[in-house]
Assembly symmetry: C2
Homo-oligomer: 315 residues x 2
Amino acid sequence: MTETAKPLVAVIGAGGMGRGWATLAVSRGWRVTLFDPSANVFDDARAEVITRVRRLQQRGMVPAETVEAGLAAFSNGRSLLRTVTDADWVIETGPEDLGQRQRLLEQVEQVCRLAAIITSSSLRYHASALCARLRRPERLLCVNPWSPLEYMPVVEVIPGPLTAPECVAAVRFWLQRLDHHPIVLHAEVPGNVSGRVAAAVWRECIDLVLDGVISVRDLDRVVSNGPAVAWAAVGPHQRLVLAAGLRDLTVALGAQLGTYEGWWQALSQRTSLDREELYRLARALENAYPGEADAVREERDRRLAALIDLRKSPP
Amino acid sequence: MTETAKPLVAVIGAGGMGRGWATLAVSRGWRVTLFDPSANVFDDARAEVITRVRRLQQRGMVPAETVEAGLAAFSNGRSLLRTVTDADWVIETGPEDLGQRQRLLEQVEQVCRLAAIITSSSLRYHASALCARLRRPERLLCVNPWSPLEYMPVVEVIPGPLTAPECVAAVRFWLQRLDHHPIVLHAEVPGNVSGRVAAAVWRECIDLVLDGVISVRDLDRVVSNGPAVAWAAVGPHQRLVLAAGLRDLTVALGAQLGTYEGWWQALSQRTSLDREELYRLARALENAYPGEADAVREERDRRLAALIDLRKSPP
């Protein structure tokens, strides 16, 4: 591999995803240049990145001198050309429009180094579609983190059919240097793994609330204290292996199926939400959580930091 | 309410669910009588309950004197009559066969006190079906905990259409005395809340593994470190409210829908698993987790205890 241990990072797009990537790389002392076509968003993004990086430092997750180095080197790219021209790793976080992203990636390729690797954080489109206008599609792959990115260590890495293995290896290496866990998928499927799981769960949550089975707050309590805690302790498949104990797994899973097959038949088949349902859901959420966002976000980040720390500690 | 603070508990069935209920109530010093029609399983169940109760004590979750009182009063019912005759709370954990459970509940009702409350831990059947042979269906309701019950605080309480409100109130009170969080549902739906969420997620996990998108271990890593940790920090709907920030929720949810609706259309529609798929899945799980169950179970319980503790601490 030819990648450096601390690549020069170019982040394209200063929305939520771009700010997350910038926070993570800056907090590890990497040189990060951020660019957004809307000139006036950089200052806001910079302020948020600084706050989030400092919070990591306060929580003891990154050392002060590393943070200072990262913040000192964190800059406004001002133009696409200046942003990506020297970058080792270009992180594209553009809008979820296929044509726009394809053109943006084409522009990036025209001005970046031959050795640069480009990752897209698109949730909707995969490398096989995003690379349509590229001359070097082998340098592009998709990388899907969870938000807030600086606390959520798992990152799905999804190469396209044309992606070069050394680019996958380099991105894996960089993510590990950022204290994250890259998981490489073997195929491009809608939503990848996390998105499918989130979509499957949200669909049930929507129907349970709209059908009046449970209130918004109680639903969150059940999911958060039940399945989420159970799976945060051990993954869903390992949980089944534990439940089987000494029994043969085919027999044990077969017994579970007797229950699950009945539930599968009854699950939500929703593929859309109409205007009236969307409005009802939004009002229900608003009434359940009126104006507590700042305190809740702070408590969420505290829990995430502790959860991640807990998972790291040895058995 | 007329219920006592420490009800006399009768647990019917010494399988996994019965052992969990016995562990929880014994650990809080309650008088528990356990009965299983298979005479020879009691000794094994008793040994497991003692081990699990002692572990709670070692983790500092229950005081020693309470544990001693509970263990001293923990007894083998030997017959259904002797087990339930004085009980305030009869916990039925029979086999998942509707006819068998209906007859078992009928027998319980014939010998228990008029004031006794009967809860069923059936995952497949609701009170409206289970009460078919009862003269006092108003004393019956369903109570669905997560396993391992002594660590998982959330319990779904599902009254039937005939259940008396005072029985729901008494069971809620008792669960709270056991340091658990009862959540009362407003309707009987297949799988209730936890089961639906688990079924929706397992279905995706099965397809992702059988389709070769990801390995069993990597799948567990993604779900466990991604969505599970995120939802253990804040529930799925509250997470959306946080993501919306200052934007109007209808607008913010609408933007999410643009992505989610595409995923919903691509989600698994599986309602069964055929023999060949079951066999392949079982082999994949076996190969992923060969013979590590004891160490993993210990680590799981340590994590669960810490996770629950983390959620209890104030913001």
